[in-house]
Symmetry: C2
Subunit: 284 residues, 2 copies
């Protein structure tokens, strides 16, 4: 892959990388479509990264279907699929890790110790192998995107991170490979994440700024759903992912919710209006 990518770069191609763990859905294909628009050469990677799963997490049962993934990628139009073996990514004696301190310890990082170290390490490796000009990530994993951007900045990498909108089902559920774990009943209940974020957005748009009140709005929505359990529901700075007291800057409402045994995440991006007015813009 190094030689292949070097060849493409040598021919003056602009390389876009779409790193994935496979089990591709329309969220992923939207990333590829965006890369296709902006780059002359698109490489997608499929690698279920063991280093970003905790010992009690779903690494073994995480959905894998490389053949189907390859078909989907061919249909949307990639130039190459990079699907390395685990033993090639992490050969015996592997021992080098990249950590982004601070942001990595909160929210997803607190619920999933070691998760972001695994993410940062594998993403850096992919960047070293492919040396993409652009790399595409979905905003559903907002904290992951922030951590990767910090890594790129801190380590003087040449890759530009492109953040793409969340792709949702008609009823609002954010697309995720883990949605496949949901029973029919849980699938209906899973819209509770979107509903909680919509409820927070409603309150924000009529002037609620207190983070604790907004959290309560989200929690109550989730607690009203019998199949759902809140892991976290917070209003955080989009820069540091530290909790906010009042919403006044670029922020996220972030949620992690167990629906049955399946852990799902979602977020609402809260953007202050440029005029400095009390108005906000929202991205779900």
């Amino acid at each position: 892959m190094k030689e292949y990518a070097r060849g493409a770069r040598g021919e003056g191609r602009v390389i876009g990388l779409v790193p994935t763990m496979g089990a591709l859905h329309e969220g992923h294909t939207a990333l590829v479509a965006r890369a296709r628009q902006e780059c002359s050469h698109v490489i997608a990677s499929v690698f279920v990264n063991p280093k970003q799963f905790g010992p009690k997490e779903d690494y073994k049962k995480y959905p894998r279907n490389l053949e189907k993934d390859a078909e989907k990628l061919a249909a949307v139009g990639v130039d190459a699929l990079f699907a390395p073996e685990t033993a090639d990514v992490y050969p015996d004696g592997f021992r080098t890790y990249v950590s982004v301190e601070g942001i990595s310890e909160r929210l997803e990082g607190r619920s999933r110790p070691g998760h972001f170290r695994g993410v940062a390490t594998v993403v850096l490796k992919l960047f070293e192998i492919v040396e993409p000009h652009f790399a595409y990530f979905g905003r559903k994993d907002a904290q992951q995107v922030r951590i990767i951007s910090a890594m790129v900045h801190d380590l003087n990498l040449d890759t530009e991170i492109v953040v793409c909108p969340v792709v949702r089902e008609a009823d609002g559920l954010a697309l995720s490979s883990r949605n496949a774990y949901l029973s029919a009943e849980e699938r209906k209940a899973a819209t509770v994440l979107h509903r909680a974020l919509v409820a927070a957005r409603s309150e924000l748009s009529v002037g609620m700024r207190d983070a604790l009140q907004l959290q309560t709005v989200m929690r109550r929505t989730i607690e009203a759903e019998p199949l759902a359990t809140v892991d976290y529901a917070e209003i955080v700075s989009a820069d540091t992912f530290e909790p906010m007291i009042r919403v006044a800057q670029l922020s996220y409402a972030v949620l992690a919710v167990f629906v049955g045994k399946t852990r799902l995440i979602d977020n609402l991006l809260i953007e202050p209006s440029p005029a400095g007015s009390q108005e906000f813009a929202f991205q779900l």
Copy 2:
């Protein structure tokens, strides 16, 4: 520097990087001379890296003389000197670190917690900025070289690490910027590291293989010197830097010794003969 190095690469130059902390001596200029032989473009960096000093270490008093360093580099022939400001290497909010687990926790790493994390992080940054084909390091810092090689391998970097021999004074003292801290009396006593390694080599060459016995030989030599205190004196695997019981593979005799308040290190490389005989080759 990124643009400059990219330009040189674009012209087909082979780039050699010599990373230093300045206070240059003949050990450093030997690295540059080697790079000069092997590369069409030689870049030296001078950066006293705060992240590799412990809070009680000599970061503040570490010798700095950029003008003199620049003269020495010009004399031996570099194409560029990269001497970034600390605030440019570690801007506010810097939070990404590279750790090489295992090797980093022993010997130098145990005596200097966080040291190798600082080294790996700054070296990765220099590699990302310069993207050298080759990078030159001295074997005096054997554990550092091993850690950087592991990082290059694990993170799929394109830089080849070139390890250069230890440069010594006529009386055997390994060149080090920290030798400048020594009083005249300490300077004489500082030959004890070399003497201890020579003593170990003598015993090895007449058949001593037991690591504990070899350690004792080194310790006794050092303890006989009133101004010297042993920090560690060990026989370790050249691969893992774990202690050995018997010398049977590629190994180091490694020493860290306080001479007065100045901490000095040195090592002896022990290479088994290819024939599988009982003979060893040694590099001091």
